[in-house]
């Protein structure tokens, strides 16, 4: 069971996270945590012409939360900011290869998506308030 969760790729992203650190001149930064388990994630986004030109995260927490954040930055790097609103729980679980996570650990995997979605809404609110409301209503949390 545990062998299925803690596969090589999860351990690799946990110990050697991609795109980890602060982003100088980020257009938007959002922090959130799961106070019950103590996982923390900060997302920094640089957006150019509607495209995520750079993304970095900072955080601490379990292997699932940190690996999920690392893999999420790889997934959205260079992509249109709009795709964030369509990302769903299932996309994240598929992205990290853990489609059978139990209820106790699924929130670990989804924290970074939550932070990314809030980052997107914050970006639109600050830079394109007219679209912000529509984006907000179209974007389900998961």
């Amino acid at each position: 069971m545990s062998d299925d969760i803690y596969r090589e790729i999860i351990l690799d992203h946990y110990r050697n996270p991609r795109n980890k650190g602060k982003l100088e001149n980020a257009d938007v930064t959002v922090h959130d945590s799961n106070p019950l388990c103590g996982d923390e994630i900060d997302m920094h986004l640089k957006v150019d012409g509607g495209v995520i030109s750079d993304v970095k995260f900072e955080g601490k927490g379990c292997a699932i939360s940190q690996a999920s954040a690392s893999m999420l930055t790889e997934l959205v790097m260079g992509k249109d900011l709009n795709i964030v609103k369509d990302l769903k729980k299932e996309d994240i679980l598929e992205n990290i290869g853990l489609t059978n996570l139990g209820p106790a650990r699924i929130k670990c995997a989804l924290l970074s998506l939550k932070v990314l979605k809030v980052s997107m809404v914050k970006y639109y609110s600050e830079n394109d308030p007219q679209s912000a409301e529509q984006i907000k209503s179209e974007s389900s949390l998961y």
């Binding site: 069971m1 545990s2 062998d3 969760i5 803690y6 351990l11 110990r15 019950l36 388990c37 103590g38 601490k60 927490g61 379990c62 292997a63 699932i64 106790a104 650990r105 670990c108």
Partner: protein, 112 residues
């Protein structure tokens, strides 16, 4: 009550002894079981306690993991969280062997 306390000390001592042989285990608190309650707070290398608890759970061992409502102590210890095993009258020496084996299994899974 005295007998219960004696049993607690016996189990805690045995668990401490067993864990000290694992070089990747960090144990918090005094070594003498008489100076502590029937429990051990610890960390295993860079395995986050929630990950450790998940693996231990798969092996039928229930531990507590997290901040234990002591975030300030976590900062002081410079750890994200700790794991905690506790022993009482219904626990046995054999269960501590299973507990230690489950830690070893976690070490194998995390390639420590």
């Amino acid at each position: 009550m005295e007998n219960i306390r004696k049993h607690e000390i016996y189990l805690t001592d045995y668990a401490l002894e067993s864990m000290l042989s694992l070089k990747y285990a960090t144990i918090y608190g005094p070594r003498d079981p008489k100076d502590r309650g029937g429990l051990i707070s610890f960390n295993i290398a860079d395995i986050h306690p929630h990950d450790l608890a998940t693996i231990m759970n798969d092996h039928g061992i229930a531990i507590r993991s997290g901040h234990h409502c002591a975030q300030v102590l976590m900062q002081r210890l410079d750890v994200p969280a700790t794991s905690r095993a506790s022993f009482y009258i219904y626990n046995t020496k054999e269960e501590i062997d299973r507990f230690v084996n489950a830690i070893k299994e976690a070490g194998r899974i995390f390639k420590i």
